[in-house]
Amino acid sequence: MSAWETIKENWRVVMLVFMLVLSTLFLFAPAFEPSGSQGPAAQESATNLQYGLELSGGSRIRAPLVGVTAEEVQFEGRDTAEVERQVAAELETGDSSDVIARFSTNSSGTVELVTENATQADLRNALDAAGYEYETVRDGVTDETRQQTIEVLESKINAAGLSGGSVRTIGNGDFVLIEVPNDDLSEVRDLVNSRGTVQIAAYHEVQRNNTTEYVNTTVIRQEDFQTVGTAQQGEQGPGPNVPVSVRQSEAERVQRLFVETGVAGQGGTDCTFSQENGPSTTEPCILIIRDGTVVSSFGMNPSLAQSMRNGEWAQDPQFILVTGSFERAQDVSVDLRAGALPAGLALDEGTATSISAAQGDDFKRDSLIIGLLAVLTVAGVVFFRYGDPKVAAPMVVTAFSEVLILLGFAAFIQYPLDLSVIAGFIAVIGTGVDDLVIIADEVMAEGDVNSRRVFQSRFRKAFWVVGAAAATTIVAMAPLASPWLSLGDLQGFAIFTILGVLVGVLITRPAYGDILRALLTDR
């Protein structure tokens, strides 16, 4: 037999070897090293494998977005800002940032209410009171809002310096999954939990009905900022702060408001505002309001006040936000740079997980031990059963190569390995060996296999059972693998079990047949 014929005869083995070489390349070759920082766990290691949160440490938060949505609301020619204002006016809070209106056709669209504890009845009542007609009201938010929220969450995470974080939707899109390499759960939760609406207001006296009262006048809104610096310690001067600049188009208005409200008073202002005491006598103040609460209050220094009074400031509208503590400076800076979340996360309706790097390492080591022991057990039982290394050794080698190919595949698609994926690998070894036992028993049944033809017919018969068994496993695992049913935890298990079965049926098990034939028929 020529070399070419040998290859042609054993093409299944050639295929297996090819897949093994390819997998080894994906696993170890530096050329396939994970590029950039995808997923929470980009780290240096001996292989190109990516480890998921459970094996590398980090935090994971999974929660639905807060909100109810009315569909097909007739806007009657009004623009979305007007709809938002009118609907918000009928709510207890009256805050138009809690209402989002979007066009879906020329004349109608959706209205979302995104306050915490918002109910369908709240939105119905507000729409009815504002006189808008609508089709249905449902829980949840629109795809656009979800997409925007994800983008803002991503930039918040990046702005907070948590590189390698990821944000995506799971399930049938209702849930948002956030993974970051930081294992301080409280910190991560605070970061994603705040809506992060920041505004700068003037706190000042007004005369109303012959009495003096204090009011907040919004001077700078989130969208009015041109640039936002990183948090500064400001040790020499005002203390922790965030340097900002205002958009040129808004500069005149901001300047005018500061002067009118008296914040930019002659000789500057000295602020003695305190939240605990409620309205108190103070000179006009600048307030930083984050998510409805006053973060800090401060006065304006004389030189800045002077430049606002004579109109110079608007030429170069820079400003520093004094925050009182460095931590608050960081929060404000992150919020201003990332923007506000259109809708908040309902943390109580989700899950929050954090795993320390040390625990991740333990899981990595322990699951490796478990996997190896499971493989050794399988090998032991198979050797014990067949006694013949010619049958048993290729069986164990084949089962191993299934796992190697799967690992190579995981490295290639950069699928982060988690405990559930490892459970999938162990399941694959289990089913894989089952099928090899079927093939071996069938081929060796009823006396020696001495002709190629006998072998082929027996192998084909065995393969019917193997194929049927593989099909049932795939069908049983499909619901868990589908994004519609799985909320993510066991998806890896299901996906790798199914992949393992496919690799087994298409590549490794046919090759085992060829190896067995070579060992049993060639004499």
Partner: protein, 298 residues
């Protein structure tokens, strides 16, 4: 080298009724256990943290003795832990807290536990908090998943064999393979977790392998019924024993290391595959024999 051989069972000595009686009786008892649990607790099996909501915390405690460490953990937290489990021989403990029935919201509970653990000087290794609403949603999806997987498997089996009795034999024994482990979970006090659900789905796929092998051997292959049965049994028992051995090792080692997911997958598969040995070679065989000798003739 030592070898084991699958012993040949002399099926001719027993009637179909005798053969089927044992697995059917076990199945009936299992259904009774599950029904009883449902009547007394309102759920067919005790749902774990994944489904009820709550917090699981893994902390390293520096204490001179095991008892002292447990005492320290109880003192450190204002919430009462539902369980405290030691991981192997290490100083790491897993404490679980359920939110069920308490006023504290999930995220608040987790935050509180986290700061209490820090205050007590424990090294927090991991925290997992599950909201109650999320838990019940997961429960619903898990149920749909198991039902869908079972229905898909049954449809596939009918499509493969295209005859009623042999197909229903496979489906009934697969059903029993799932019900018996669930009943055992009730008896042994094992909670339903995502891992056990995964294991039940895995069982649907895994356990029908030996039934398909048996049916294929008896129906599609030449030879006498008993010969075919023995041939399928030799292969099938080897297969199932291999899997049981692998899963038992995984269950034991994983529970030693405190990796709940792998431990519960291993445990449930051991139960289910053991049940499968009984169901395949008593129930399925008797149904097939009836079909082969009496059903076809009619």
């Amino acid at each position: 080298m030592a070898r084991f051989e699958v012993p040949e069972v002399d099926y001719t000595r027993y009637t179909n009724r005798q053969l089927a009686a044992i697995p059917l009786a076990v199945l009936a008892v299992a259904i009774l256990v599950i029904g009883g649990a449902y009547v007394t607790t309102g759920t067919p099996v005790d749902p774990g943290l994944d489904f009820t909501g709550g917090t699981e915390m893994r902390v390293a405690v520096d204490a001179p003795s095991d008892a002292q460490a447990r005492e320290d953990i109880r003192e450190a937290f204002t919430a009462t832990p539902n369980s405290i489990q030691r991981v192997g021989n290490s100083d790491v403990y897993i404490a679980t807290f359920q939110t069920e029935g308490s006023e504290t919201e999930q995220s608040e509970l987790t935050r509180q536990l986290e700061s209490e653990a820090d205050a007590a000087g424990f090294d927090v290794r991991s925290i997992e908090g599950v909201g109650a609403a999320f838990g019940s949603e997961t429960q619903q999806r898990a149920l749909i998943g198991v039902v869908a997987a079972f229905a898909g498997m049954a449809a596939l089996v009918f499509a493969l064999f295209r005859t009623f009795v042999p197909s229903i034999a496979v489906v009934v024994s697969a059903f029993s393979d799932i019900v018996i482990p669930v009943a055992l979970m009730n008896l042994l006090g094992i909670e339903l977790t995502l891992g056990t659900v995964a294991a039940l789905l895995m069982l649907i796929g895994y356990s029908v392998d030996s039934d398909i092998l048996l049916n294929n051997s008896v129906l599609r292959r030449s030879g006498d019924f008993y010969e075919s049965t023995y041939r399928a049994m030799r292969t099938g028992v080897t297969m199932t024993l291999t899997s049981i051995a692998a899963m038992a090792v995984m269950a034991v080692v994983a529970s030693f290391f405190g990796i709940g997911l792998l431990a519960s997958i291993g445990t449930i598969l051991v139960f289910g595959l053991a049940a499968d040995l009984m169901n395949t070679y008593l129930l399925n065989v008797s149904l097939l024999r009836w079909y082969k000798f009496e059903g076809v003739a009619r």
